[in-house]
Symmetry: C3
Subunit: 153 residues, 3 copies
Amino acid sequence: MPTPERILEREGRTLPTTHPVVANSAMTVRAELLFVSGHGPFVDGRPAHTGKLGVDVTIEGGQEAADTVTMNLLGPLKAELGELSRISRFVKLLVFVNASSDFAQHHLVADGATNLLVKVFGDIGRPARSAVGVASLPLNFAVEIEAVVEVRD
Amino acid sequence: MPTPERILEREGRTLPTTHPVVANSAMTVRAELLFVSGHGPFVDGRPAHTGKLGVDVTIEGGQEAADTVTMNLLGPLKAELGELSRISRFVKLLVFVNASSDFAQHHLVADGATNLLVKVFGDIGRPARSAVGVASLPLNFAVEIEAVVEVRD
Amino acid sequence: MPTPERILEREGRTLPTTHPVVANSAMTVRAELLFVSGHGPFVDGRPAHTGKLGVDVTIEGGQEAADTVTMNLLGPLKAELGELSRISRFVKLLVFVNASSDFAQHHLVADGATNLLVKVFGDIGRPARSAVGVASLPLNFAVEIEAVVEVRD
Protein backbone atom coordinates (compact mmCIF):
# COMPACT_ATOMS: atom_id res chain seq x y z
CA MET A 1 0.00 0.00 0.00
CA PRO A 2 1.35 3.46 -0.84
CA THR A 3 2.46 5.70 2.02
CA PRO A 4 0.30 8.69 2.99
CA GLU A 5 3.05 10.91 1.61
CA ARG A 6 2.86 9.10 -1.77
CA ILE A 7 -0.91 9.43 -1.90
CA LEU A 8 -0.67 13.16 -1.26
CA GLU A 9 2.01 13.42 -3.94
CA ARG A 10 -0.20 11.62 -6.46
CA GLU A 11 -2.98 14.07 -5.66
CA GLY A 12 -0.59 16.91 -6.34
CA ARG A 13 -0.77 18.05 -2.72
CA THR A 14 2.24 19.52 -0.94
CA LEU A 15 2.56 19.28 2.83
CA PRO A 16 3.24 22.65 4.43
CA THR A 17 6.77 22.38 5.76
CA THR A 18 6.41 25.36 8.02
CA HIS A 19 3.33 26.90 9.43
CA PRO A 20 2.83 30.20 11.14
CA VAL A 21 2.83 30.06 14.91
CA VAL A 22 0.27 32.73 15.65
CA ALA A 23 0.60 32.53 19.40
CA ASN A 24 2.50 31.05 22.31
CA SER A 25 1.60 27.34 22.14
CA ALA A 26 3.23 24.11 21.05
CA MET A 27 1.81 22.20 18.10
CA THR A 28 1.85 18.57 19.18
CA VAL A 29 2.19 16.86 22.52
CA ARG A 30 2.23 13.22 23.74
CA ALA A 31 0.03 12.29 26.66
CA GLU A 32 -1.14 10.37 29.70
CA LEU A 33 -3.92 12.28 31.12
CA LEU A 34 -5.85 14.18 33.71
CA PHE A 35 -8.92 15.98 32.33
CA VAL A 36 -10.00 19.25 33.93
CA SER A 37 -13.52 20.62 33.54
CA GLY A 38 -14.12 23.91 31.81
CA HIS A 39 -13.56 26.66 34.37
CA GLY A 40 -14.57 30.29 34.39
CA PRO A 41 -13.00 33.43 35.89
CA PHE A 42 -14.26 33.17 39.44
CA VAL A 43 -12.57 35.33 42.06
CA ASP A 44 -13.45 34.66 45.70
CA GLY A 45 -16.36 32.54 44.58
CA ARG A 46 -17.89 35.18 42.33
CA PRO A 47 -17.75 35.46 38.54
CA ALA A 48 -15.30 38.22 37.67
CA HIS A 49 -14.41 39.13 34.10
CA THR A 50 -17.82 38.84 32.54
CA GLY A 51 -18.82 40.19 29.13
CA LYS A 52 -17.96 39.77 25.49
CA LEU A 53 -14.78 40.36 23.51
CA GLY A 54 -15.47 42.67 20.61
CA VAL A 55 -18.29 44.31 22.56
CA ASP A 56 -17.48 45.31 26.12
CA VAL A 57 -14.24 43.49 27.02
CA THR A 58 -10.84 44.60 25.68
CA ILE A 59 -8.10 42.20 24.62
CA GLU A 60 -6.22 43.09 27.81
CA GLY A 61 -9.36 42.39 29.82
CA GLY A 62 -9.71 39.06 28.04
CA GLN A 63 -6.10 38.20 28.83
CA GLU A 64 -6.69 38.95 32.50
CA ALA A 65 -9.78 36.74 32.40
CA ALA A 66 -7.72 33.92 30.84
CA ASP A 67 -5.07 34.38 33.52
CA THR A 68 -7.71 34.19 36.26
CA VAL A 69 -9.27 31.09 34.72
CA THR A 70 -5.84 29.46 34.62
CA MET A 71 -5.43 30.05 38.36
CA ASN A 72 -8.82 28.37 38.77
CA LEU A 73 -7.56 25.38 36.79
CA LEU A 74 -4.46 25.15 38.99
CA GLY A 75 -6.47 25.23 42.23
CA PRO A 76 -8.21 21.86 41.73
CA LEU A 77 -5.00 20.39 40.28
CA LYS A 78 -3.18 21.37 43.49
CA ALA A 79 -6.02 19.88 45.54
CA GLU A 80 -5.96 16.67 43.50
CA LEU A 81 -2.19 16.22 43.20
CA GLY A 82 -0.81 17.71 46.41
CA GLU A 83 2.18 19.16 44.55
CA LEU A 84 1.90 20.95 41.21
CA SER A 85 5.38 19.62 40.38
CA ARG A 86 3.75 16.24 39.78
CA ILE A 87 2.47 17.75 36.52
CA SER A 88 4.82 16.53 33.79
CA ARG A 89 3.17 18.45 30.98
CA PHE A 90 0.22 20.65 30.09
CA VAL A 91 -1.01 18.68 27.11
CA LYS A 92 -3.96 20.64 25.80
CA LEU A 93 -5.92 23.82 26.45
CA LEU A 94 -9.21 24.58 24.76
CA VAL A 95 -9.91 28.28 25.24
CA PHE A 96 -13.50 29.42 24.70
CA VAL A 97 -13.69 33.18 24.25
CA ASN A 98 -17.10 34.85 24.68
CA ALA A 99 -16.89 36.91 21.50
CA SER A 100 -18.82 38.89 18.95
CA SER A 101 -19.26 37.51 15.45
CA ASP A 102 -16.55 39.78 14.06
CA PHE A 103 -13.88 39.36 16.75
CA ALA A 104 -10.65 37.87 15.36
CA GLN A 105 -7.99 38.02 18.11
CA HIS A 106 -8.90 34.97 20.19
CA HIS A 107 -5.30 33.73 20.09
CA LEU A 108 -4.14 36.89 21.87
CA VAL A 109 -6.72 36.37 24.59
CA ALA A 110 -5.56 32.77 25.00
CA ASP A 111 -1.99 34.01 25.53
CA GLY A 112 -3.20 35.20 28.94
CA ALA A 113 -3.46 31.52 29.90
CA THR A 114 -0.33 30.11 28.30
CA ASN A 115 1.86 33.04 29.38
CA LEU A 116 1.03 32.24 33.00
CA LEU A 117 1.63 28.52 32.51
CA VAL A 118 5.02 29.11 30.88
CA LYS A 119 6.00 31.53 33.63
CA VAL A 120 5.14 29.01 36.33
CA PHE A 121 6.01 25.69 34.67
CA GLY A 122 8.54 26.60 31.98
CA ASP A 123 8.48 24.62 28.74
CA ILE A 124 6.11 21.95 30.05
CA GLY A 125 3.55 24.76 30.44
CA ARG A 126 3.36 25.14 26.65
CA PRO A 127 0.38 22.98 25.60
CA ALA A 128 -1.27 22.21 22.32
CA ARG A 129 -3.92 24.89 22.26
CA SER A 130 -7.09 25.93 20.48
CA ALA A 131 -8.89 29.24 20.84
CA VAL A 132 -12.38 29.86 19.46
CA GLY A 133 -15.11 32.46 19.80
CA VAL A 134 -18.33 31.15 21.29
CA ALA A 135 -21.73 32.84 21.21
CA SER A 136 -22.12 32.85 24.98
CA LEU A 137 -20.80 31.28 28.17
CA PRO A 138 -22.24 30.24 31.56
CA LEU A 139 -22.84 33.22 33.89
CA ASN A 140 -21.65 35.47 31.05
CA PHE A 141 -17.99 34.55 31.65
CA ALA A 142 -15.63 36.33 29.25
CA VAL A 143 -13.48 33.19 28.97
CA GLU A 144 -13.85 29.49 29.78
CA ILE A 145 -10.95 27.04 29.54
CA GLU A 146 -10.76 23.27 29.76
CA ALA A 147 -7.47 21.39 30.05
CA VAL A 148 -5.76 18.05 29.63
CA VAL A 149 -2.74 17.56 31.86
CA GLU A 150 -0.13 14.80 31.97
CA VAL A 151 0.83 13.70 35.45
CA ARG A 152 3.78 11.76 36.81
CA ASP A 153 2.87 8.55 38.62
CA MET B 1 14.50 25.00 40.19
CA PRO B 2 11.75 26.55 42.33
CA THR B 3 8.45 24.70 42.59
CA PRO B 4 5.41 26.03 40.71
CA GLU B 5 3.92 26.94 44.08
CA ARG B 6 7.03 29.01 44.93
CA ILE B 7 6.92 30.81 41.60
CA LEU B 8 3.27 31.71 42.14
CA GLU B 9 4.13 32.91 45.65
CA ARG B 10 6.92 35.12 44.31
CA GLU B 11 4.44 36.61 41.84
CA GLY B 12 2.11 37.36 44.71
CA ARG B 13 -0.49 34.96 43.34
CA THR B 14 -2.69 32.87 45.63
CA LEU B 15 -4.13 29.58 44.46
CA PRO B 16 -7.87 29.39 44.99
CA THR B 17 -8.30 26.75 47.69
CA THR B 18 -11.95 26.23 46.96
CA HIS B 19 -13.81 26.92 43.80
CA PRO B 20 -17.53 27.17 43.20
CA VAL B 21 -19.11 24.07 41.75
CA VAL B 22 -21.72 25.65 39.52
CA ALA B 23 -23.21 22.38 38.36
CA ASN B 24 -23.25 18.65 38.81
CA SER B 25 -19.83 17.58 37.52
CA ALA B 26 -16.49 16.48 38.91
CA MET B 27 -13.44 18.67 38.42
CA THR B 28 -10.66 16.29 37.48
CA VAL B 29 -10.62 12.71 36.26
CA ARG B 30 -7.90 10.19 35.29
CA ALA B 31 -8.22 8.32 32.04
CA GLU B 32 -7.78 5.55 29.50
CA LEU B 33 -10.02 6.31 26.71
CA LEU B 34 -12.80 5.79 24.24
CA PHE B 35 -13.72 8.89 22.24
CA VAL B 36 -17.31 9.38 21.16
CA SER B 37 -18.28 11.70 18.31
CA GLY B 38 -20.46 14.69 18.93
CA HIS B 39 -24.08 13.52 18.89
CA GLY B 40 -27.32 15.39 18.52
CA PRO B 41 -30.84 14.85 19.88
CA PHE B 42 -32.12 12.35 17.32
CA VAL B 43 -35.26 10.41 18.20
CA ASP B 44 -36.23 7.53 15.91
CA GLY B 45 -33.75 8.75 13.35
CA ARG B 46 -35.08 12.30 13.22
CA PRO B 47 -33.67 15.43 14.83
CA ALA B 48 -35.86 16.29 17.80
CA HIS B 49 -35.11 19.21 20.13
CA THR B 50 -34.06 21.77 17.56
CA GLY B 51 -33.77 25.51 18.15
CA LYS B 52 -31.83 27.93 20.26
CA LEU B 53 -31.59 28.49 24.00
CA GLY B 54 -32.37 32.09 24.85
CA VAL B 55 -34.61 32.33 21.77
CA ASP B 56 -37.09 29.50 21.32
CA VAL B 57 -35.95 26.70 23.65
CA THR B 58 -36.47 26.86 27.42
CA ILE B 59 -33.92 25.61 29.95
CA GLU B 60 -36.18 22.61 30.60
CA GLY B 61 -36.33 21.98 26.85
CA GLY B 62 -32.55 22.19 26.69
CA GLN B 63 -32.22 19.73 29.56
CA GLU B 64 -34.51 17.29 27.75
CA ALA B 65 -32.38 17.72 24.63
CA ALA B 66 -29.23 17.00 26.66
CA ASP B 67 -30.90 13.92 28.15
CA THR B 68 -31.84 12.69 24.67
CA VAL B 69 -28.33 13.30 23.35
CA THR B 70 -26.94 11.32 26.26
CA MET B 71 -29.11 8.35 25.30
CA ASN B 72 -27.67 8.70 21.79
CA LEU B 73 -24.15 8.57 23.24
CA LEU B 74 -25.02 5.41 25.20
CA GLY B 75 -26.46 3.64 22.15
CA PRO B 76 -23.16 3.37 20.23
CA LEU B 77 -21.28 2.63 23.47
CA LYS B 78 -23.63 -0.32 24.09
CA ALA B 79 -23.11 -1.45 20.49
CA GLU B 80 -19.33 -1.15 20.83
CA LEU B 81 -18.91 -2.61 24.30
CA GLY B 82 -21.69 -5.17 24.58
CA GLU B 83 -22.28 -4.29 28.24
CA LEU B 84 -22.41 -0.71 29.52
CA SER B 85 -20.97 -2.02 32.81
CA ARG B 86 -17.61 -2.26 31.03
CA ILE B 87 -17.50 1.54 31.33
CA SER B 88 -15.29 2.32 34.32
CA ARG B 89 -15.71 6.07 34.17
CA PHE B 90 -17.21 8.90 32.16
CA VAL B 91 -14.09 11.02 31.86
CA LYS B 92 -15.20 14.10 29.97
CA LEU B 93 -18.27 15.68 28.43
CA LEU B 94 -18.12 18.71 26.19
CA VAL B 95 -21.62 20.14 25.93
CA PHE B 96 -22.31 22.50 23.04
CA VAL B 97 -25.49 24.49 23.61
CA ASN B 98 -27.06 26.21 20.59
CA ALA B 99 -27.52 29.57 22.30
CA SER B 100 -28.13 33.25 21.81
CA SER B 101 -25.34 35.71 22.54
CA ASP B 102 -26.88 36.66 25.90
CA PHE B 103 -27.74 33.20 27.23
CA ALA B 104 -25.90 32.42 30.48
CA GLN B 105 -27.32 29.15 31.88
CA HIS B 106 -25.46 26.58 29.80
CA HIS B 107 -24.42 24.68 32.92
CA LEU B 108 -28.07 24.05 33.80
CA VAL B 109 -28.71 22.68 30.32
CA ALA B 110 -25.70 20.39 30.68
CA ASP B 111 -27.16 19.02 33.93
CA GLY B 112 -29.68 17.21 31.70
CA ALA B 113 -26.79 15.03 30.54
CA THR B 114 -24.93 14.46 33.79
CA ASN B 115 -28.09 13.90 35.83
CA LEU B 116 -28.93 10.96 33.57
CA LEU B 117 -25.39 9.59 33.73
CA VAL B 118 -25.31 9.77 37.54
CA LYS B 119 -28.72 8.12 37.75
CA VAL B 120 -27.61 5.23 35.54
CA PHE B 121 -23.93 4.89 36.46
CA GLY B 122 -23.65 6.40 39.95
CA ASP B 123 -20.45 8.24 40.80
CA ILE B 124 -18.55 7.05 37.73
CA GLY B 125 -21.16 8.94 35.69
CA ARG B 126 -19.83 12.26 37.01
CA PRO B 127 -17.34 13.44 34.37
CA ALA B 128 -15.15 16.47 33.99
CA ARG B 129 -17.46 18.71 32.00
CA SER B 130 -17.52 21.89 29.95
CA ALA B 131 -20.60 23.69 28.69
CA VAL B 132 -20.44 26.50 26.12
CA GLY B 133 -22.85 28.41 23.90
CA VAL B 134 -22.23 27.96 20.19
CA ALA B 135 -23.59 30.12 17.38
CA SER B 136 -25.24 27.21 15.59
CA LEU B 137 -25.27 23.41 15.35
CA PRO B 138 -25.79 20.82 12.59
CA LEU B 139 -29.45 20.40 11.62
CA ASN B 140 -30.29 23.15 14.12
CA PHE B 141 -29.84 20.78 17.09
CA ALA B 142 -30.45 22.51 20.43
CA VAL B 143 -27.58 20.57 22.01
CA GLU B 144 -24.60 18.53 20.79
CA ILE B 145 -22.38 16.54 23.17
CA GLU B 146 -19.08 14.73 22.67
CA ALA B 147 -17.62 12.38 25.28
CA VAL B 148 -14.49 10.64 26.48
CA VAL B 149 -15.13 7.40 28.32
CA GLU B 150 -12.77 5.11 30.23
CA VAL B 151 -13.34 1.44 29.60
CA ARG B 152 -12.27 -1.68 31.49
CA ASP B 153 -10.16 -4.09 29.43
CA MET C 1 -26.01 -3.40 42.02
CA PRO C 2 -28.24 -3.33 38.95
CA THR C 3 -26.59 -2.97 35.54
CA PRO C 4 -26.87 0.34 33.69
CA GLU C 5 -29.13 -1.43 31.19
CA ARG C 6 -31.46 -2.53 34.02
CA ILE C 7 -31.58 0.98 35.47
CA LEU C 8 -32.52 2.40 32.07
CA GLU C 9 -35.18 -0.31 31.71
CA ARG C 10 -36.66 0.55 35.09
CA GLU C 11 -36.85 4.18 34.01
CA GLY C 12 -38.70 3.11 30.90
CA ARG C 13 -35.85 4.29 28.68
CA THR C 14 -34.92 2.45 25.47
CA LEU C 15 -31.41 2.66 24.10
CA PRO C 16 -31.34 3.66 20.45
CA THR C 17 -30.14 0.56 18.64
CA THR C 18 -29.27 2.45 15.51
CA HIS C 19 -28.49 6.07 15.09
CA PRO C 20 -28.25 8.14 11.95
CA VAL C 21 -24.76 8.68 10.65
CA VAL C 22 -25.09 12.19 9.32
CA ALA C 23 -21.60 12.39 7.90
CA ASN C 24 -18.41 10.51 7.18
CA SER C 25 -17.05 9.79 10.66
CA ALA C 26 -16.77 6.81 12.98
CA MET C 27 -18.65 6.83 16.27
CA THR C 28 -16.16 5.48 18.80
CA VAL C 29 -12.43 4.98 18.74
CA ARG C 30 -9.82 3.66 21.22
CA ALA C 31 -6.72 5.71 21.86
CA GLU C 32 -3.11 6.43 22.76
CA LEU C 33 -2.51 9.94 21.90
CA LEU C 34 -0.88 12.87 20.22
CA PHE C 35 -2.77 16.15 20.61
CA VAL C 36 -2.62 18.71 17.82
CA SER C 37 -3.43 22.38 18.39
CA GLY C 38 -6.34 24.00 16.63
CA HIS C 39 -5.15 25.02 13.17
CA GLY C 40 -6.57 27.43 10.62
CA PRO C 41 -6.55 27.53 6.82
CA PHE C 42 -3.16 29.12 6.24
CA VAL C 43 -1.70 28.88 2.74
CA ASP C 44 1.92 29.95 2.28
CA GLY C 45 1.86 31.53 5.70
CA ARG C 46 -1.22 33.64 5.09
CA PRO C 47 -4.78 33.04 6.25
CA ALA C 48 -6.79 31.86 3.25
CA HIS C 49 -10.47 30.86 3.49
CA THR C 50 -11.66 33.58 5.81
CA GLY C 51 -15.29 34.50 6.44
CA LYS C 52 -18.46 32.98 7.79
CA LEU C 53 -20.61 30.07 6.67
CA GLY C 54 -24.17 31.19 6.18
CA VAL C 55 -22.98 34.70 5.35
CA ASP C 56 -20.15 34.93 2.81
CA VAL C 57 -18.69 31.42 2.56
CA THR C 58 -20.48 28.61 0.67
CA ILE C 59 -20.56 25.00 1.84
CA GLU C 60 -18.07 24.16 -0.93
CA GLY C 61 -15.85 27.00 0.26
CA GLY C 62 -16.09 25.70 3.79
CA GLN C 63 -15.14 22.21 2.63
CA GLU C 64 -12.08 23.62 0.86
CA ALA C 65 -11.17 25.47 4.04
CA ALA C 66 -11.51 22.23 6.04
CA ASP C 67 -9.34 20.44 3.47
CA THR C 68 -6.68 23.15 3.75
CA VAL C 69 -6.76 23.04 7.55
CA THR C 70 -6.31 19.28 7.41
CA MET C 71 -3.15 19.74 5.33
CA ASN C 72 -1.97 22.13 8.03
CA LEU C 73 -2.61 19.47 10.67
CA LEU C 74 -0.60 16.93 8.66
CA GLY C 75 2.38 19.28 8.24
CA PRO C 76 3.37 19.37 11.93
CA LEU C 77 2.55 15.67 12.29
CA LYS C 78 5.01 14.92 9.48
CA ALA C 79 7.59 17.17 11.14
CA GLU C 80 7.04 15.47 14.50
CA LEU C 81 6.84 11.86 13.33
CA GLY C 82 9.11 11.72 10.31
CA GLU C 83 6.72 9.37 8.52
CA LEU C 84 2.94 9.84 8.46
CA SER C 85 2.62 6.04 8.32
CA ARG C 86 3.52 6.01 12.03
CA ILE C 87 -0.01 7.28 12.60
CA SER C 88 -2.09 4.26 13.60
CA ARG C 89 -5.38 6.12 13.83
CA PHE C 90 -7.00 9.51 13.67
CA VAL C 91 -8.87 9.36 16.95
CA LYS C 92 -10.78 12.61 17.13
CA LEU C 93 -11.44 15.77 15.16
CA LEU C 94 -13.19 18.77 16.62
CA VAL C 95 -14.25 21.00 13.74
CA PHE C 96 -15.09 24.61 14.58
CA VAL C 97 -17.03 26.26 11.76
CA ASN C 98 -17.21 30.07 11.75
CA ALA C 99 -20.95 30.25 11.17
CA SER C 100 -24.04 32.40 11.37
CA SER C 101 -26.64 31.68 14.03
CA ASP C 102 -28.93 29.97 11.50
CA PHE C 103 -26.36 27.81 9.67
CA ALA C 104 -27.14 24.09 9.98
CA GLN C 105 -24.77 22.18 7.67
CA HIS C 106 -21.61 22.07 9.75
CA HIS C 107 -21.30 18.31 9.23
CA LEU C 108 -21.01 18.83 5.47
CA VAL C 109 -18.23 21.37 5.99
CA ALA C 110 -16.43 18.90 8.25
CA ASP C 111 -16.57 16.29 5.47
CA GLY C 112 -13.90 18.38 3.76
CA ALA C 113 -11.51 17.27 6.48
CA THR C 114 -12.49 13.61 6.88
CA ASN C 115 -12.77 13.02 3.12
CA LEU C 116 -9.12 14.00 2.75
CA LEU C 117 -8.06 11.86 5.72
CA VAL C 118 -9.90 8.81 4.38
CA LYS C 119 -8.40 9.33 0.92
CA VAL C 120 -4.89 9.49 2.33
CA PHE C 121 -5.09 7.09 5.28
CA GLY C 122 -7.99 4.78 4.45
CA ASP C 123 -10.12 3.52 7.34
CA ILE C 124 -7.75 4.76 10.04
CA GLY C 125 -8.46 8.26 8.72
CA ARG C 126 -12.07 8.02 9.94
CA PRO C 127 -12.05 9.63 13.40
CA ALA C 128 -14.69 10.28 16.00
CA ARG C 129 -15.75 13.77 15.01
CA SER C 130 -17.70 16.77 16.23
CA ALA C 131 -18.68 19.80 14.18
CA VAL C 132 -20.08 22.97 15.72
CA GLY C 133 -20.76 26.56 14.67
CA VAL C 134 -18.76 29.14 16.58
CA ALA C 135 -19.43 32.87 16.72
CA SER C 136 -15.97 33.81 15.45
CA LEU C 137 -12.45 32.47 14.94
CA PRO C 138 -8.90 33.86 15.12
CA LEU C 139 -7.98 35.97 12.07
CA ASN C 140 -11.53 35.40 10.78
CA PHE C 141 -10.70 31.81 9.70
CA ALA C 142 -13.70 30.06 8.14
CA VAL C 143 -12.74 26.81 9.87
CA GLU C 144 -10.48 25.74 12.73
CA ILE C 145 -9.78 22.09 13.56
CA GLU C 146 -8.05 20.40 16.47
CA ALA C 147 -7.12 16.72 16.45
CA VAL C 148 -6.18 13.74 18.57
CA VAL C 149 -4.05 11.18 16.80
CA GLU C 150 -2.89 7.71 17.86
CA VAL C 151 0.70 6.93 17.02
CA ARG C 152 2.63 3.69 16.81
CA ASP C 153 5.61 3.47 19.16
